[in-house]
Symmetry: C2
Subunit: 150 residues, 2 copies
DNA sequence: CACTTATAGTTGTTTAAACAACTAAATTAG
DNA sequence: CTAATTTAGTTGTTTAAACAACTATAAGTG
């Protein structure tokens, strides 16, 4: 029987944990003038150049408006550029700039170090279990959501 | 050796999971005109009436400005009232109203059901482990944060 | 082909988080 | 007791998330 009360609520506890980890990462990358969310988008473009926004949104776990705005800020900072599609003129291919590559390659190890530092309190097995359980929860929540929106 | 890449990043995966779960809860309580965050604050006041904002903030895992604003919205909706402290006139004691009690008591089982539905993909042991690991991570992240802000 | 529907992206609005700067009251120290 | 410091709360600003409404192009159907 699962315990009741906010202190045993997955959503509540996860929210706090997520915000704290995010905050730590943020303080460590603030010299790059990038937020963790902007980073997650830049990371995807570094990983695969030239994707259209729809694919970036999917890979980053963000919706379309959020992706549009994050890309706008990344473009304003000179980290990415948009090129309109030739075949499909509704879409934009997003390319990373030299500055973007440089920032991404400097931030990647910082993020990894944050993970190592924070998850130092977990064993490797616990860490792997955690990732797998979180993925299960996401999928389950998304599936319930879809059902309930009819 | 832990895997690298955003798809194995605790922060990234947790963010997606958190947002989806939150979204599901939100759709289920939208008829109450309350958000999950407002709920988490109202819950604390339902739990212990008359606390000052500082204590509510602490229990809800929010900072002072966020708490101020959420309490403002709860007050505007008629769910709580503020009473200035007699001994300490800097602080406000926050009390729940009848409407607040009613909403809280109706939402509590809904939240519990969301948890049961979403975490149906986990065993009871996994659920408990998850909560405990999330708490460990919060504490660790908070401790690192404090250090690094000097 | 024309017409309907789907898709890619943008814009507007509301809520919350993080941070800094601030007011006012309380506490501490000289 | 006065002056400095701490504490409780508020306000302003920026970023992101969720949602709805919108434009423009593409694809599917009669």
């Amino acid at each position: 029987m699962r315990q009741q009360g906010l202190d045993h609520s997955l959503g509540f506890v996860m929210g706090i944990s997520y915000r704290r980890m995010n905050q730590l990462f943020m303080t460590r990358i603030k010299s790059f003038d990038l937020t963790p969310e902007q980073w997650s988008v830049l990371y995807r473009i570094r990983e695969q150049d030239g994707m259209i926004q729809k694919d970036i949104a999917e890979k980053s776990g963000k919706d379309k408006p959020t992706t549009t705005r994050i890309l706008d800020s990344l473009e304003a900072k000179g980290y990415v550029t948009k090129k309109i599609g030739k075949n499909d003129r509704r879409s934009y291919h997003v390319h990373i700039t030299e500055a973007g590559i440089q920032a991404a390659d400097e931030i990647a190890p910082i993020e990894y170090q944050v993970l190592r530092d924070v998850s130092g309190v977990l064993t490797d097995e616990e860490y792997a279990l955690m990732i797998s359980m979180l993925n299960k929860l996401s999928i389950q929540a998304a599936s319930l959501l879809e059902q309930e929106k009819e």
